[in-house]
C-alpha cells in the first residue's frame, strides 16, 4: 500500500540523520513589517495598505452609492443580512439591489455586497469566512466586490490574524482586486474575480 511504503521510506531517511533540526522558537514579531504597521489607528493603517494594492476603503453607504453610480455599476447583489443597513439605502438612491444570487445569471450582478469576518491592517487584507458570509460567488463574479466590515474585527498583523483563524473549513484572505501580470509583466486587474475591491466599514 502506498501509504505504508511512503511512510516507511520517510522513516528510513529521517532515522539515518545524525542530528535533527529542532523546531525553531521565535517571536512572531520577526514577521511584522514596521513600515507597513506605521500609523495611529488600525483603520488608518488598513486603509493605507488597502490603497497600496489598489483597493478602496469607504466609511459610509452614501460614499458607496456615489461610487457605484459614477462608475456605472447600477445592478447588484446584497447579502440579506446587510440589506437594511446597506442594500436599502442603495435602492433608495436608485440602484437595483437583489437579495438572492442566481448562478445562471452570474454576469448580471455588477456589484456584490457581502460580509467580511475581519481584516488585517498590516496588509490591507479582507477576511471572508465560509460560515460567516453569504456566498462565495457573490463576492467573486461581480466586477465590484464590497466587503462590509465591523471596525472591531480588524487585526493588527498577519500573525495576529493567523492566530485567530478559527474553525471554519474555508477561509479566504483577499488583498486587493484580482490581478495578473502574465502578459509581458503588465499589471491588469479584474482577471477572474473583481476589478474593484472595496472595504466598507460601518
Amino acid at each position: 500500500m502506498s501509504r505504508a511504503a511512503i511512510l516507511s521510506k520517510i522513516a528510513t531517511a529521517t532515522s539515518a540523520l545524525k542530528t535533527k533540526a529542532p523546531r525553531p522558537d521565535y517571536d512572531a514579531a520577526i514577521t511584522h513589517s514596521a513600515p507597513k504597521l506605521a500609523g495611529r489607528d488600525l483603520w488608518e493603517i488598513f486603509s493605507r495598505n488597502l490603497a497600496a494594492v489598489n483597493g478602496r476603503s469607504m466609511q459610509s453607504v452614501a460614499e458607496l452609492a456615489t461610487f457605484l453610480a459614477s462608475s456605472g455599476q447600477s445592478h447588484g447583489y446584497c447579502d440579506p443580512a446587510l440589506y437594511e443597513r446597506v442594500g436599502a439605502p442603495l435602492a433608495a438612491a436608485g440602484l437595483t439591489v437583489e437579495t438572492s444570487y442566481e448562478r445562471g445569471r452570474y454576469d448580471d450582478y455588477q456589484f456584490g455586497i457581502t460580509r467580511a469576518s475581519g481584516a488585517i491592517a498590516e496588509s490591507g487584507t479582507l477576511i471572508l469566512d465560509d460560515e460567516r458570509t453569504s456566498r462565495r460567488l457573490a463576492a467573486l463574479s461581480p466586477w465590484v466586490h464590497v466587503a462590509v466590515l465591523e471596525r472591531g474585527t480588524i487585526h493588527r498583523t498577519i500573525a495576529d490574524a493567523l492566530a485567530a483563524l478559527g474553525d471554519s473549513t474555508n477561509i479566504i484572505w483577499v488583498t486587493g482586486p484580482s490581478k495578473t501580470a502574465d502578459v509581458e509583466g503588465i499589471l491588469i486587474e479584474g482577471v477572474h474575480g473583481p476589478g474593484e475591491q472595496i472595504a466598507l466599514v460601518l
Binding site: 531517511a13 465560509d130 474555508n170
Partner: protein, 476 residues
Amino acid sequence: MFGTQLIDDYARHIPDEKQASVLNGSAAGTESRYRVLHKDYADPDALRRLAGSIKDHTLHHLGDYLVQAERALTERGVQVHFAETDEDARQMILAILRQHEVTRLTKSKSMAAEEIHLNAFLIENGVECLESDLGEFIIQLDNDIPSHIVKPIIHKNRRGIANTFQREGVASDYNDDPQTITRRARVFLRKKYMEAQACITGANFLCADSGRLVVVTNEGNSRFGMAPVPLHIALVGIEKLIPGEQDLAVFLNLLGRSATGQQLTVYTEFINGPRAATQPDGPEQMHVVFLDNGRSNVLASNCREILRCIRCGACQNVCPIYRQASGHAYRSPYGGPIGAVLSPLLFGDRFPEFADLPKASTLCGACKEVCPVDIPIPDLLLRLRDKAKREAIPSPAALPMAPFAMLATSPTLWRSAMVMSKVMNHLPLKVAPIKPLQDWLGQRTLPPSKGGEFRKWLKTRKKTEERKTPRAQTED
C-alpha cells in the same frame, strides 16, 4: 556539441524575441523582489534563515507531521490518499473523477500536476481538463510547456497570445492589447467554471496542526474554480508540510515578496474540509492526494535541503543562465537553479538524463542569496556534479576535459603542450577543416597563447625566495 553544455546549445537556438522576453521578465522580477523585501524588513535575511530552519525541522520529522496532517484532515471529512509514484497519482485522481462521473473540470496552477503530466493524462481518458490561470491557459492552448514557476508564459509576448486566441476561437478577431486579452479570457473561463463538475488544485502549504491547506493565486482562479463545483481534489507534494498555522506568517510574507514583489498574494485560501452547511457555494467533497514521486528518495540523499523549496521562482529570475537559456532549456517543469537540482534528484531513475543540469551554472551564488528558505543551491549543484562523476556519467562537457586532465597530470606532456600552444598562435585555426574546433571558436576569441610564462616566472621566484628567506629571518 564539443565543449558545451546541452543548455548552451538550447540557448543558442532560442529566437531573439523569446530570449528578450525571458531576460526582461526575469530581471523585473528580481528588482521588484529586492525593492519590496528590503523596504518592508530591516533584516530580511533573518526571516529567510528562520523559514529555512522551520522547513528543515519539518523535513527531519516529516513522517510525524504527515500522519498528523492526515488525521486533522480525516477528522474534518476530507478523504486522504497517498501516491507513491506519478502513475499512482494519475490513476487515483482518475478513479475519484470516474466515481463522481466527472467529464469536465478546471484546474488551477499546480507544479505537482505539471510534474506528473496530469492534464494530458486526463484528456486522454476523456476528461476535459482546463487550466484556469491565465498563463497556464495560454500554455495549454498552444500545447506548450511553462517556462517559469510563477510566470509560466514569461517566454511569450502579446502578439503570440493574440494569435493564439484568434486561432483557438477564444476571440473572433486579433487584438493584442493585454487588457483585452485578459477580459477575453475572463469571459471564456467563467463559463467553463460554471460548466465544470470538479476542480483540481495544488497547495502552497499544508499545516500539520489543522490540516489546512493554503492555496494562493493572484487571479482568483482557484477560488472561482472551486465555488460552483461539488468536488475538490488537491494534489499535494509531501514536502509542502509546515508544522503549524502560526508558521504561515513567516512563509506567506516571504512567498509573495519573493515571487512577485507583493506583500501578500491577492487570494490566500485556507481549506481543510468541504464547504460549511450554511454556505451554498463550494465543494461538498474534498480529497487530498499526497504525492511522493521521488521526494522520499531526495530526503534520503545528501541534497535534501532542496525539499525546503516553496516554488517562488526567485532563483530563476536572478540566474544568469536561466535568463539566457529560458526555462525550457532545463527539460522539466522546473527550470533554473531549482530545476538543475530538483530534476536530477526527483526523476532519480533517469539521473543520467539530467546529470548535465547541475553543470549549467557559474556557481555565482545569486540563487542562494534570494532564496526565501535559504537553500544552499550552489553547494547542492556541486554535490550533484560529484554524484555524476562518481557514477561515471558521461556528459558533453567531459569531452575536452579528458585530454586536459591527461596533460595536467604529466609535467613532460604539459611542457611540450605549452610550446605547441605558442606555435598555434601562428596557425589559421578558424579556417582549419575541423568541425568541432570551428564550432568552439565560433563563439570564442582566443587570446594569444603565452604558454610557459607562468612556469618561467615560478622558477625565477623560487630563486629569489631562497635568497630572501635567510635575510628575513635575521631581521626578525
